[in-house]
Symmetry: C3
Subunit: 678 residues, 3 copies
Amino acid sequence: MPHTPITYGVDYYPEQWPETRWAEDARLMREAGLHVVRLAEFAWALFETAEGTFEWAWLDRALAVLGEAGLKVVLCTPTPTPPAWLTETYPDCLNVDERGVRMSPGTRRHICANHADYRRLAMRITEQMAARYGKDERVIAWQTDNEFGCHDTIRCTCPSCEPAFQHWLEARYGSLEALNEAWGTNFWSQRYSAWSQIQPPRPAPADHNPGLLLDFYRFSSESWVKFNAEQVALLRQHAPGHLITHNLMIYFFHFDHYQVAQDLDFVSWDNYHHFGAQPVTVAANHDLIWGAKEKNFWVIEQQVGQVNWSVYNPQFPPGMLALKAMQAIAHGADGILYFRWRQARKGAEMYHSGLLDHAARPTRALAEAALLGERWETLAQALEGIEPAHDAAILHDFASHWALERQPHTRSLNFQAESDEPLLFAGDEPLQSIAPMNRAGLYLLPMYEALWRNNLQAAIISPEGRLERYRVLFAPQLHIATASHAARLRAWVEAGGSLVVGPRAGYKDESNGLHEVPQPGPLAELLGGTVREFDTREPGNTVELDFGDEALQAGVWCEVWEPAPGTQVLATYGRNRDGSLPYYAGQAAVLYRRLGKGQVITLGTMGGWQLIEYLLPQLGLSAPIVTPMNVEAVRRGPLLFLLNHTEQQQEVTVPRAWGDLFDKKKVEEKVRLAPYGW
Amino acid sequence: MPHTPITYGVDYYPEQWPETRWAEDARLMREAGLHVVRLAEFAWALFETAEGTFEWAWLDRALAVLGEAGLKVVLCTPTPTPPAWLTETYPDCLNVDERGVRMSPGTRRHICANHADYRRLAMRITEQMAARYGKDERVIAWQTDNEFGCHDTIRCTCPSCEPAFQHWLEARYGSLEALNEAWGTNFWSQRYSAWSQIQPPRPAPADHNPGLLLDFYRFSSESWVKFNAEQVALLRQHAPGHLITHNLMIYFFHFDHYQVAQDLDFVSWDNYHHFGAQPVTVAANHDLIWGAKEKNFWVIEQQVGQVNWSVYNPQFPPGMLALKAMQAIAHGADGILYFRWRQARKGAEMYHSGLLDHAARPTRALAEAALLGERWETLAQALEGIEPAHDAAILHDFASHWALERQPHTRSLNFQAESDEPLLFAGDEPLQSIAPMNRAGLYLLPMYEALWRNNLQAAIISPEGRLERYRVLFAPQLHIATASHAARLRAWVEAGGSLVVGPRAGYKDESNGLHEVPQPGPLAELLGGTVREFDTREPGNTVELDFGDEALQAGVWCEVWEPAPGTQVLATYGRNRDGSLPYYAGQAAVLYRRLGKGQVITLGTMGGWQLIEYLLPQLGLSAPIVTPMNVEAVRRGPLLFLLNHTEQQQEVTVPRAWGDLFDKKKVEEKVRLAPYGW
Amino acid sequence: MPHTPITYGVDYYPEQWPETRWAEDARLMREAGLHVVRLAEFAWALFETAEGTFEWAWLDRALAVLGEAGLKVVLCTPTPTPPAWLTETYPDCLNVDERGVRMSPGTRRHICANHADYRRLAMRITEQMAARYGKDERVIAWQTDNEFGCHDTIRCTCPSCEPAFQHWLEARYGSLEALNEAWGTNFWSQRYSAWSQIQPPRPAPADHNPGLLLDFYRFSSESWVKFNAEQVALLRQHAPGHLITHNLMIYFFHFDHYQVAQDLDFVSWDNYHHFGAQPVTVAANHDLIWGAKEKNFWVIEQQVGQVNWSVYNPQFPPGMLALKAMQAIAHGADGILYFRWRQARKGAEMYHSGLLDHAARPTRALAEAALLGERWETLAQALEGIEPAHDAAILHDFASHWALERQPHTRSLNFQAESDEPLLFAGDEPLQSIAPMNRAGLYLLPMYEALWRNNLQAAIISPEGRLERYRVLFAPQLHIATASHAARLRAWVEAGGSLVVGPRAGYKDESNGLHEVPQPGPLAELLGGTVREFDTREPGNTVELDFGDEALQAGVWCEVWEPAPGTQVLATYGRNRDGSLPYYAGQAAVLYRRLGKGQVITLGTMGGWQLIEYLLPQLGLSAPIVTPMNVEAVRRGPLLFLLNHTEQQQEVTVPRAWGDLFDKKKVEEKVRLAPYGW
């Protein structure tokens, strides 16, 4: 598999501007050092003006103008936005959400992946485009569709999805008897006597069966995975020399990124810094995207100023654009494309900044992009084929995420909760502050943050990933666990790995039922113990973890563990925040065991990043460089990126003298970083 | 009518476990001292596998295994969960909520009581079960359905309900003219010229007519009352020797408990300690359930650990299960059945604790249940036929509740409000803290709490109840009042009763209109005055009540009363919390009058429990035993229950030496109670 | 056009009370000095008992009784409440909201203005009424319908509206090509190839095209404007001597008041003092209503005590009713009618106070109304033909409002936001406190408040209004601006006007797209500069405005301006609230230029009233009378109204001795005002 290409470019919608302007735009792009343009996203109505009537002339002309200016092109399949004639002709292709509300046309992603006519027409426009531009040398890559899952559109309960779901279940279970057994349909008289009785989860008085829910979520995810795969197959056939990618997004977790990534040459993502995002959460996003395929990626939409959709939409201060781009590169981005070239004058996104403003004036952002453009050649040579260093990996499993999504069991772990209330405290200080849009990272982020604060780098990968590349693994939410997970992890530990497992591990089987053995189910032997019972605690009601030499704070979820012989108790529960003793004071909260050449630490409770930081020495990890808060040091091959995310000047002491990639002069051990500098 | 039987048992779902396990489960139940098992709840799909095809073999076998172990059985009609084939065949039996959303199948209570086919099939399965097991000696009782009203399902606006509602109205009013007059349909052109024009209250731009709303709520309640009565009739016919009960729930107030109770031999309820519940609110629930039939009851589902549905779901600490059971018994429970025997592995309730955990390990809860099991024989002998002592009764009227539900007139009295903001203050101290799920008790709880803190016991009964059994009556929300209410209460007062009436009394007539005379309408003569006007005050904006010798705080609703000749003004309004004077300062807030041998106190405003406590001496009530906060002393016949709801050790001085029921040795006047002890 | 008549009266619903009571009611009205009665609102079902069957006898009798008592009458067309037979016969006349929910009958305003049969029958009942009572001398005026826009009912997405909207668009744009261009439908593949493809904005995954939204809002507004105009035409034809009005409401901004007003003889409004309303917001309402036609108005529904629909509904303290009436008169009300004569006993508004209570007892409110009644003759003579003095005008544009409504771009400017969080701070003091129901006034109120606190009076008028009458103009939200706006304002400034323009001016073209030139688009030359970029800031994150001699606070929206040659920078941005510097520190925030004989001040950011107050001297404005906080001095012709909105006694020094209108004796310079006095 070839390297992800090193690319610097911009997203452009020529169809939104007069044709007479195109050449000037192309000239300005080149002047800013940009050499790739993404085109044709959402342009279906312009390609197919009536069913079966295709018009390519305008794109031909755009390619000509851009090509003449020396720009290469990434094309997008326009399938998230069916033309108005399509939804008028086939109104039942409009998707239906979990409240049973049928979407109307006029925006985007209002369609059902399982509707036969939509699907047929989506593949036909893909094939037509691929056939026409698949051999075009100006085109270097394709983006399939746009942001699967955007606007919560993965899960559709429409009449087309109902039989599709039934067939999917039939294929999965073979017989109704097997399904009834797996889901436990003797509960609440849910037993099915015909496949046709099974419905997607629509509004109901009480909670649907977790088995049905998880399978519906899998089915929904796979519907889009297959939709993507079908497009990829057409592109591979008609555009054999071109690379294929898709643009993932922040925490759109309703489909399995690992499965989509498998079918692509590399993944891309759209890096938007919504209100409340922090340097650490953006870093985690990069590493999550890197882990989608365990390979370098593109930021195919890099924010350049304010967005139009966050609760508050502040403007980027000077330096922010370049800093965001360098952070992406440090974490493994091989391509940076800015969204968007020029701010729109019309349509729902008109308040979204561009490198030109809506009146075509160059912005501060363009100047910053050009600054990087000047250095791009140097960067590209240094980065080619170079992956970021990873000191550890964090396992992330989508099925587990979906299971936890629907059974948080406490409002504190509800990914949709609107409240920002801190969950954990040390004294009166909140230990954690997860922004609303990052609640999906409730399990993952505290572990990630502990590493990040110590400039330790972690790829966020699938439990099916290439574990052998890592020496330390964190498993914050291995909720659904099978014998095969257990065997795979055991072999890895025995070979010398250090594994840290978080609470709620191994509770569920593949059908989202509880294992018939005590928690952690099939992981019990690996972790060296079982859960006797667990408690949940309301926000702020923390409990001490007594490690002997240190007392740390935990809360939210508290498992009482019974260690197996040979397993050590690393920490027991201590006092409540109000000084009283919980009934499980003195009982095991954190376990430790050696196994073969490796070791396993099991956390029966949730702490802040401090808890994980405390464990780092035991895992053989320590900060390679110490930096001030929100100054990030990231290693990518021989390169060290120092990123100052603060608005103050900062100073960093690096462990040895280093060369400056751009200045070619030696850098002393003390590096001074300007505000937002690098 | 026979006594409610003394029973100790558990809820069991053999159909959810391998048949090979049943005998071991039965053995463990008996070992824990349990002697009754509730079975077959929700099992319709297993009894009727296709329309008209019945299968009883599995239940026969379960009864055999359990019976051999010496266990008696309570059977449930499985009607809250129609099988999937039923909703597939008759999709229009699915209920429609007040937003107009049709429910989908897959959970429970998704059906309309007025749908002809559902109704027919529900009665057929009831009759079939009754016919088969009605003479079985292992069976001692039946539970109809499960938790009417759960998940807000009483009120259905579906097309089956529309004509049913019209017929109900026709029967109630006789003529459209009478209905138009009663509802005042000259308002907003609402006049009906045909019965067919009347619809259930569906989404509309503004508020529906209160007359229509109240009648729709009555109709909805009666739909389920009749549904239950029809099942009871079938059971009485086919299972003549068996007792019949139904399991009520916490504050499911959309149907009239008093009407349902009339048709049962005794009532049961499901005692769940949601997050935010307090000992006093659980005590009030018991007394509310006792009052449903003014008779001892069962807790047919007693929580044993964490539930799966509250906002936060903490685990029970040691001692809590037994304490909860003893509290129930003290308040008149003759039966305790634990929910559930074994934690489920599948289905929506899998995070609900059982006496065995999901992996069949005995829990702390089982050990506690067994402790009580050992003492059950002693308890049973002492309790047989013995009712709790009641120092007073509190009147609770469902129609008044429904009227207040839809016209709270201030957000403070909105039963659905999500906010927890305290309503009343003394200085900076909030006087009241009603948990979200108890908002339905906004009127009732302050009165109850004053009694409870003084270890005074109150049955919560219907205004149609047996008033003659009580010396003191509280009427916190006698909002809809008729001449017959007035006459009944007057006779009771004249015979020597002490009556305390809360604000908003007698505002409404039976059609939910205002009386044509001043408030309190037909109660004016009884209370000895009329309301001149009333004010509402936002949360925290309290006002002093000047009793001459004492100043107490009130707020939320402030009526200005004009006493009739001979009526005393007990308290007038004083200063606002900010020190200023309200315009009604000095005017009458609390009235007092003597009437025959009795007395009446009328509260024109809402205070905390302190206000009621202040009045106790006047009512001839005083604490029989003084206990620390959250230590409850409850008298049931010759028995005194001392219940320590705190996690600290507590000491209580009892007025005389007492015998310990279990130890048989004399107890001194000072009783030491362990944390959660009794 | 004749003066608005001077009128004192009450709203009466004889159909809700026994006919035997009418004469007594009439007598009491006269006794209180009331001489006009508004009748027949909502009475359609009583006029047309079945389709085509009309009954007028009851109204004839009511007119007779009232006329005999010497009362004049205002009649209402009863069209907001179609009878039950109408919605039963034509169920598709029920409107559908933007969530796609079809309304049900039973309340009011549940109908679609574009439904042919409803429209036909609404006009027929109007014509029938007009034909019958159009020559009746007891009738002096007509009110069309009631409160257009109440309960959010302007915007209907029903199947009748869909083709009506398409035809409206066809008439507006002529060709699909023009529409596609205007809306920018190349964005997201929205291009329409047939008119039939265009739908009203129904539920969709993402935001609809702003062009479509604004046109739909215009169409929706015009639907009701035309509905009103059609009624007016019938009334003019059949009731030639009668005046015509309509009752507007607080911030029901979904239809264009200026357009409705054009067709009326004068406007009326319903003055309700919801919880959280303040004297300044009520004053602003009066001036907004005055500006609807730039003519005196009626308060046709004046609140008399508590309402039934606010979050909290406190009672009016003594003096409040008369104070509210006097405030209305001061601001240009020529008529005061109280809502309502007697509190209802039935229907959704039964908790709404009346001058009589529900039991027909006279209330404090009646006594206060009578007090004013005694003085009415004096008042009427003094007020006839006299308009309030206006020191300035504030421009308010509905299309701009609708554009800002759907693209607030920051939660702070979301008119629907539920939060009350203060937006601006000076130190720790919040600068602004806009009550939830006044959020629609977010742009307008700070400017208004600055004037109001200085007893300066401002009419709130349309940009198409009679600018020549004013010396100072404020334009807080001139968001959609055209060349014609620019030319009109320029001519006005050049002639000597002082113009103050707020942020977000001139961003949008008439199709709700961004202009293709920099902001402020066509206003750039007038304002003397362009916006380089803008920032948004979260609540509380204020920034200093450095005026050289003074530092004020601003926030929420911060534009960085580039002044044109000759334009002065009045203020630049300074420090953030936390002391740090924003990146645009030192850049232009407020511009100033002279133009012809006039001047223009442009505010690039939002401040509290303090910012505007600081600018008053520059505008040649200063407080004519200095009064304590919440004591208002209002000038209407030769009359000076002093209104004490506080519950304390207050003292005001007036600039010269004045005569008391009622006492006829000279008033010294110091006037003492009782609590709520005038």
